[in-house]
Each structure stands twice: as structure tokens, then as C-alpha cells.
């Protein structure tokens, strides 16, 4: 495991059971009473702003009205129809910048928005369906390969299966779920929810998942392209960006996502290596998740360092608030300059250079300071895994910046190969966005295959004539 580089560190002082208490639901679920009160606050807007902004097109006003009318199953199916991962999205979506920000009850005179995220979670958690709510359409006889069992891949696979296609998912990790299983703070998705959601999704049938299958490793895109009617790439962003400093591979310095994954998968939290002083570099939700979690494990001093100001952070205000509440220290306007090592070559801290915007230009000021730390976690963004991209055919895919280029139907430049989620350019790198990409790509694939079949039938008719 990647956190090998921390193995010399001590373990948390508390026992597993006590530690687990620190990782229970950050936002506890609504009970029936609270859901009734909250749903009654919804104005059932026409052309509702919350629905318009939802990246996965959930009809928010409709599902809230269903909750209020006691039709929980109707509410849940209304959500799942648009977003098969509606349960995890309810937990991990930055609702404060999406639906809840758009809620008309945010208007100055109205007080506060309807708690849409919690209501969505209430509907999904409390549905009691006798069978899977979506039936498969008659078989198309088509087989599609999906690379990656993260939100985009799973969503795509589910929709393809629903439309009557058979799907094989190739996943490099042991478990399915991608970011939801490995990359989200433990207290945001408790009770093994990510896995349960995958199980629910797969219950539609027609989806096979093969684990330990890595594109660019034991899987070749060329083969998939040849063996399947279409391929969807939901590669995600598996690699952490580099600081570009000497000593970056020193023991004690690692990617936040690797530690988060280890924490998520740990059966015994007390066996995790725990630095007493930690630095987290970055200002996105991953950085916050990392800083808060290590603090909750018992670290004495956690400092999050960001090169710009609070307003520029990609972590929302809500996330920043969580960090503050958890005593994470935040240093802004400072950028990493040098990894400080001890005699044994292990991390002992980092030197930072203060930054500023002078005459509209961002840069270092030359003034430096040091923060002592036993571990440094990088959370400065993710990029596509080099392994996947090393696949000979994948290499030839047209890029858009450092991501894969797709058209508005999620087609790459190679016919029959589609892509979506964080590995493609459009979007906000959100789970909900990935789910939407997967869903739309599935429809595009299905339609493309259908019209191809139709034109082939036409062609054969012509031949026969």
C-alpha cells in the first residue's frame, strides 16, 4: 500500500471503537418528523431553480412533494431515475453551491434554503421497494465494456443494462465504487454505504464486474474495442499531482488520496500510522477531508496550507467551516518551497514561501517560514493515471488540456469509444457530474448502436434487393 512510507509512525492512542466514534455521520439523517417539517418548507416552484442546477437533472420539487405526501418510494424512484447513485450524492454533493444555493428560500427575505440534500438522503434511505425499481428493456444483443467502476462507469453501466445491453466493467481496484469507496471522508459515507449502493445498482442485472483489471496493464483498449460493441472510459483521476520539489518521494510525504483510501478501507483505525504533526497542502475538498480526518484520528497539530486566499479555495465555505470546527489550522498565501528532511531522510517539515498578488500578478514574496511536521499530505489536485494513458490506443485519444476530449455525446475521437466523468474536460469534477456523464453517455452509446444496426439492416436490404 502507498502509505508504506508512513509505517515508521506511531498509531493512534485511542482504540478502534473509540476512534470509530469520530467517524460517524457528519450530517445525521433526518427522522420522519424532521423530513415532514423540512419538506413542507418547499414551495414546489415551477421550473424550479434547484432542479435546473442539479447536474444530474433530479426533479427536486417533485421528490420533495412526494416526501411530504408520504410517498417515499415515489420520491426515491424519482431521484434514482435520474441519478442511480442518488444516495451517495445526497451525502457528498456540495449542495451548498448547487441545489440549496439555488433554492428560492435563500432569498434575503426567506431565511434559509430547504435542506434538499438531507431530504434526498431521507427518501433513498427510507425507500422500501419490493424489487429493483428499474426493469431491463428487451435485449439488444449488444455488449459494452466500461473501464472503471467509479460513479461515471457505474452510472453508465446501469443505464446501458437498463436499455437492454450487457455490460462488463473493468476495474483495477478490489472494490467497486471509485471515489465513493476510496476517496471520500469516512464520516460522509458511513455504514459501508458505497458498497450497498453498488449492490443495489447491480441488482438490475446484465452487469459483470471484473476486478484487478487495469487499462494499460493487463487490459488493452484495442482488445476491448475489438471484443465489444462499444467502450466507455470512466477512468477518473487516479494520480495525484506532484509538487515538483526534491524529496517528494521521501518517507512521510504522500498523496492525501492514498491515506484517505487506506483510512476508508481500514478494519482497525488504531492500526493506521498517525503523524502527530501534519501538513496538508491544498484547498479542495480532498484537502479538507484529509486534514479533518487526521485530526480526528488524534493528530496534535494539523496545518492546511494554501497558496491563495480563502475565497479562492475550491473547498466550499461549508467545507472550510468543517475544517475550522475540527481545529484544523489554515495558513493561506504560502507555497511549498522545500521539503525538510531529518538525518534519516524522513520528512521533518516544510519550508514555505509567502505569496501575494502584486500588480495583479500572483507570486512568491521571497519571505519564507518553516512548519515542522512528521508527515506532509499532497492534495493539490488529481490527474489521470499514467498507467491508463500508457495504453497504446488510449494514448492516441485526442486530449483537451490534460483530460480526454469528448464531443457533446461523450464520444472520443475514436469511433465506438466514449468517455465521461472526471477524465473528460467538461464538468466540475463532482460525483453527481460523473453520474450524469455516465447516464448521458449510455444513452448516446445506445442510440449510436441502434442507428448503426438500423443502417446495417438497411444496407443488407439494399443488397438483398
Amino acid at each position: 500500500m502507498m502509505i508504506e512510507s508512513l509505517k515508521y509512525m506511531p498509531h493512534p492512542k485511542e482504540a478502534n471503537a473509540a476512534l470509530a466514534e469520530h467517524f460517524t455521520d457528519l450530517a445525521p439523517a433526518l427522522n420522519a418528523r424532521k423530513a415532514a417539517i423540512e419538506s413542507s418548507r418547499c414551495l414546489y416552484c415551477y421550473d424550479a431553480p434547484c432542479t435546473r442546477i442539479c447536474p444530474s437533472d433530479i426533479d427536486v420539487a417533485s421528490f420533495i412533494r412526494n416526501i411530504h405526501d408520504g410517498n417515499i418510494n415515489g420520491a426515491a424512484v424519482g431521484i434514482l431515475k435520474q441519478n442511480i447513485l442518488g444516495g451517495s450524492c445526497a451525502r457528498v454533493c456540495p449542495t451548498e453551491i448547487l441545489c440549496e444555493d439555488a433554492c428560492v428560500r435563500n432569498h434575503d427575505a426567506e431565511g434559509q434554503p430547504v435542506k434538499i440534500g438531507l431530504l434526498q438522503r431521507y427518501a433513498i434511505d427510507n425507500m422500501s421497494l419490493d424489487e429493483h425499481p428499474f426493469k431491463r428493456f428487451p435485449s439488444t444483443g449488444k455488449k459494452i465494456a466500461v473501464v472503471g467502476a467509479g460513479p461515471a462507469g457505474l452510472s453508465c453501466a446501469h443505464r446501458l443494462a437498463m436499455l437492454g445491453n450487457d455490460v462488463v466493467i473493468y476495474e483495477s481496484r478490489e472494490k467497486s465504487g471509485g471515489l465513493n469507496e476510496y476517496g471520500i471522508a469516512k464520516y460522509k459515507l458511513t455504514d459501508n454505504f458505497a458498497q450497498k449502493e453498488v449492490d443495489f445498482l447491480l441488482a438490475i442485472g446484465g452487469i459483470e464486474i471484473r476486478h484487478g483489471q487495469t487499462l494499460g496493464g493487463n487490459v488493452r483498449l484495442k482488445d476491448l474495442h475489438a471484443q465489444f460493441d462499444a467502450v466507455f472510459l470512466g477512468l477518473g483521476l487516479g494520480a495525484s499531482k506532484q509538487l515538483g520539489l526534491t524529496g517528494e518521494d521521501a518517507p512521510g510525504l504522500l498523496a492525501a488520496v492514498d491515506y484517505i483510501a487506506a483510512l476508508r478501507q481500514a478494519d482497525d483505525l488504531s492500526q493506521l500510522p498517525l503523524p502527530s504533526r501534519a501538513i496538508v497542502i491544498g484547498a479542495g475538498n480532498t484537502a479538507i477531508d484529509m486534514a479533518v480526518q487526521i485530526q480526528r484520528l488524534g493528530a496534535e497539530e494539523v496545518t492546511l496550507v494554501y497558496r491563495r486566499g480563502f475565497e479562492a479555495m475550491s473547498a466550499t465555505e461549508h467545507e472550510q467551516h468543517i475544517a475550522k470546527e475540527n481545529q484544523v489550522r489554515m495558513r493561506i498565501w504560502a507555497q511549498p518551497q522545500q521539503v525538510l528532511l531529518d538525518e534519516a531522510g524522513r520528512v521533518r517539515g516544510m519550508r514555505f514561501e509567502k505569496t501575494a498578488i502584486v500588480d495583479g500578478r500572483f507570486g512568491g514574496t521571497g519571505e519564507t517560514f518553516e512548519i515542522a511536521a512528521d508527515a506532509i499530505f499532497k492534495a493539490i489536485g488529481q490527474s489521470m493515471d499514467q498507467t491508463s494513458i500508457s495504453d497504446p490506443l488510449a494514448k492516441t485519444l485526442k486530449r483537451d488540456g490534460d483530460k480526454i476530449y469528448v464531443d457533446d455525446q461523450f464520444r472520443t475521437v475514436l469511433p465506438g469509444i466514449y468517455a465521461g466523468g472526471d477524465c473528460v474536460a467538461p464538468g466540475q469534477d463532482l460525483t453527481v457530474q460523473a453520474v450524469q456523464h455516465g447516464k448521458l453517455a449510455a444513452h448516446a452509446i445506445h442510440e449510436d448502436l441502434k442507428s448503426m444496426t438500423a443502417s446495417m439492416t438497411e444496407a443488407s436490404k439494399v443488397e438483398a434487393a
Binding site: A36, I37, S40, L43, Y44, C45, Y46, D47, A48, P49, R52, H68, V104, R105, H107, A109, E110
Partner: protein, 430 residues
């Protein structure tokens, strides 16, 4: 603060708030608590002949709003289920202890003159201020030939009223049932029988809701149900109309009215009084919130009176009656048009969809380049129906603005578009 004292058909009351004949006034304990809380009077829950009525369980159910607030209420309780003797003794004692408070005794008996002649002296002996004839109870009693069964037959109303005026010196208030096509008929009958006042409305036949698992309506009595008497906020519009009908009927004009039906706050009371009620009776609101609500009702009413410069209740009783008329006398040339205050608009689109789907397509949804919605009234299409104002969740955001049409008053009887215009006479006053 304005003086809230009134005189209603000869009965003096320190304020116009009385508790209606119902469970809250069934016994001395409750009535004393009500007087301690400040109610001006009570109508003691209906007495009847012995043996006393027997009640079932359960008895109440409710029609709820979105936040589980009780919009309407229904009950299948009968008249008092305590003996006549104990009620009379308690009334006597309470009246003795609370001489400045009004006690009206509600009565219900079969239509036999002797029964009325026998009971009236007993009631008079308690020192009570008046009697109220319960011609309204819609459940249980009508099956026995009483309550609404009497109230629905004007001849019976007149007959029983006359007996009471014959055998008693007490003021007689006739309580009317709303379960009738035209409430003016029993009101006229009551007046003809010599009634000193009418009170209305009694409860309306109703079924509030059902248990869809058991397939039975509420309130459930061992797996079955029956229609109950509907009351509470939901019946207020019906009650107000009936009060107005009687207040503006030339045959009953000037007959004192005790307004009942969904009164829960000072504003409701003021509305009933503006439509001609000399006092009001409250029940459901007290049952839902306790007797202390009279405190806010009194305070609110007198502050409003102060603001308006009314020094006594009689100054505004009936003031809205002349402005209540028949449809045909409304001004055909009056025109209002909706106006949306864009600063207050929260852009929920409710006005738009209501008008677009169900009214006159007179609201435009404008979408700018950034996708921001604005809702604007298309003046040429607006008929001034009020629907948008009603659907708008923000009070005061949509207003109906009178337009200067430059045209004089013209009612339907004068309107050239009315094929029967010539046949209709223009009234002297509108």
C-alpha cells in the same frame, strides 16, 4: 385602550368574546377556568331532557394543513351527557360567583311544548342571562327529531321559538344550522317567532379524512364512522357568508347576530362583527389552544380599534354590510391588474404556472442570457382574477392595482351586454 364591553340583545358583556356551546362549556370546572382567563361569557353546553345523552369513543377528528396545523375540526359528540340537575346546580353556582359574566344556556328538546314549558323556569331560576335554542346539531340528535332536524324546517323554528318566548322572560337566541340551502329562511322564522337574536353557524356535516388501511373514516368508533359536525378555521368563509346573508336580508335586518364559525383571533372576530355580528362565539380555537387565547384576541381587537379610532364595538359592527351586495350590482367597469414587485419576487414561478396552466396566460417568464428567470405581468392579457397573488408565497409581492378606466359605475343590470338589462331595476343604494 378601546372599550370592549357590549350589550347584545339586552345582555351586557364585558367583552364580545363568548365560548360557544360545546365541550369547553360542559361543566363548571371549565367555565370557571374560562372566566378566569377573561372570556366575557359562555353558552353552556346544551341541556336536554333526562336521561342524559350517551357519547361514543372516539369523537373528534381533524382536517390538517401542510404543517399539521388543524384547518378544520369535526366531532360526533352529542349534547351534555350529564344530568339536567347537576348542570342546573352548577350554572346557578357559577353565575352567582361570576355576576359580571354572561351565561347563556343552550337547550335542545323534542318539539313538544310541555317539555319546553317545564324546563324554562328551571333554567330561569339559575340566574342565567339568556337561552340559546340548539337547532343546529348535525349528528345524532337529528335522528331523534332534534337539532338540525328542527333547524331545517322554518315552521318548527318559529314554533319552538314562540313557545320559549311564551314560557320565559329570558332573551332567546336561536342557533342556526348551516346544513340548509338558504339560511335566511330559518332566520326569518326565528324572527317571526319572536327571537331576540340568532347565532350562527352551527357545525357542518362532514367527513374529514379516512384511514385508508382500515378503509374507514375518522373519527373511528370500533371500525365504523359517521358524519360529524365541521368547525374550525375552514368553516369561517361559509359562516361569514351566512352572517352577511342574514345581516343584509331586509326581513331580518337589525336582528342581533352572534357570529360563530372558525373564529381564532381578533381579526376573525372583527370580520364577523363588521358583517353584523354583535358578539362572537369561539370554540375550536379554544379547544386547540386553551382558554388563554382570549387574551390576545382582546388585546388585538382593542389595539386595532384604537388605531382606527373606534371607541366602542358598536361603532364598527355591521360596517361592511352595505358593501356586501348581489353580484349584479358590482361595477362592471372596475378593473384591477396584477403587479409583481421584482425586488420581493423570489422567482419560484408559481404565479407563472398557475396563470399559464389554469388562467389567462398573462404572466411572462423571461429568461436572460445567464439563465435568470424574471416573471412579468402581460397587462393586456390580465383579467385581474387574483390567482397569481394567491399563489405567490411572498405576501405583498404581487398586488392587484386598480386601473383608471375612465368609465363610470355601471352594474350588470345596466350593462348593454346583459340581454335582460332593461328588465332589471337599478337599486337606490349600492
Amino acid at each position: 385602550m378601546a372599550d370592549l364591553s357590549i350589550e347584545f340583545c339586552g345582555i351586557k358583556s364585558i367583552n364580545p368574546f363568548w365560548l360557544a356551546s360545546a365541550p369547553p362549556t360542559d361543566k363548571a370546572y371549565n367555565v370557571v377556568r374560562a372566566f378566569e382567563a377573561g372570556w366575557g361569557g359562555v353558552v353552556w353546553k346544551t341541556l336536554g331532557e333526562d336521561p342524559a345523552a350517551v357519547n361514543v369513543s372516539s369523537r373528534y377528528s381533524a382536517h390538517y394543513g401542510k404543517n399539521r396545523e388543524v384547518l378544520g375540526f369535526n366531532n360526533i359528540e352529542l349534547i351534555t351527557d350529564r344530568s339536567l340537575d347537576i348542570n342546573l346546580r352548577e350554572i346557578t353556582q357559577v353565575k352567582k360567583d361570576w355576576p359580571d359574566r354572561v351565561i347563556i344556556v343552550s337547550l335542545m328538546l323534542p318539539c313538544e311544548e310541555k317539555l319546553w314549558a317545564d324546563i324554562l323556569p328551571l333554567v330561569e331560576a339559575t340566574g342565567a342571562d339568556g337561552i340559546e335554542l340548539n337547532f343546529g346539531c348535525p349528528h345524532g340528535m337529528p335522528e331523534r327529531g332534534m337539532g338540525a332536524a328542527v333547524g331545517q324546517v322554518p315552521e318548527y323554528v318559529e314554533m319552538v321559538t314562540r313557545w320559549c318566548k311564551t314560557h320565559s322572560k329570558l332573551p332567546v337566541i336561536v342557533k342556526l344550522t348551516p346544513n340548509i340551502t338558504d339560511v335566511r329562511a330559518p332566520a326569518r322564522a326565528a324572527k317571526a317567532g319572536g327571537a331576540d337574536a340568532v347565532s350562527l353557524i352551527n357545525t357542518i356535516n362532514s367527513i374529514t379524512h379516512l384511514d385508508l388501511d382500515q378503509m374507514v373514516a375518522f373519527p373511528i368508533v370500533g371500525g365504523a364512522s359517521t358524519h360529524g359536525g365541521y368547525c374550525g378555521s375552514a368553516v369561517k368563509p361559509i359562516a361569514l357568508n351566512m352572517v352577511a346573508e342574514i345581516a343584509r336580508d331586509p326581513a331580518t335586518k337589525g336582528l342581533p347576530i352572534s357570529g360563530i364559525g372558525g373564529i381564532g383571533n381578533w381579526r376573525d372576530a372583527a370580520e364577523f362583527m363588521a358583517l353584523g355580528s354583535g358578539c362572537v362565539q369561539v370554540c375550536t380555537a379554544a379547544m386547540l389552544h386553551g382558554f388563554r387565547i382570549v387574551e390576545e384576541m382582546k388585546d388585538g381587537l382593542s389595539r386595532w380599534m384604537d388605531e382606527k379610532g373606534y371607541t366602542s364595538v358598536s361603532q364598527f359592527v355591521g360596517k361592511a354590510v352595505p358593501n356586501t351586495t348581489d353580484w349584479k350590482y358590482l361595477n362592471m367597469n372596475y378593473q384591477v391588474i396584477a403587479h409583481i414587485n421584482q425586488d420581493d419576487c423570489i422567482k419560484c414561478g408559481r404565479c407563472y404556472v398557475a396563470c399559464e396552466d389554469t388562467s389567462h396566460q398573462s404572466i411572462a417568464q423571461l429568461i436572460d442570457a445567464a439563465g435568470v428567470r424574471t416573471y412579468e405581468v402581460i397587462k393586456e392579457e390580465c383579467v385581474g382574477c387574483n390567482l397569481c397573488e394567491i399563489t405567490c408565497p411572498v405576501q405583498g409581492c404581487i398586488t392587484m392595482v386598480p386601473q383608471d378606466t375612465g368609465k363610470p359605475y355601471m352594474n350588470w343590470t345596466q350593462d348593454p351586454r346583459n340581454p335582460g338589462a332593461e328588465n332589471v331595476k337599478v337599486p337606490e343604494t349600492v
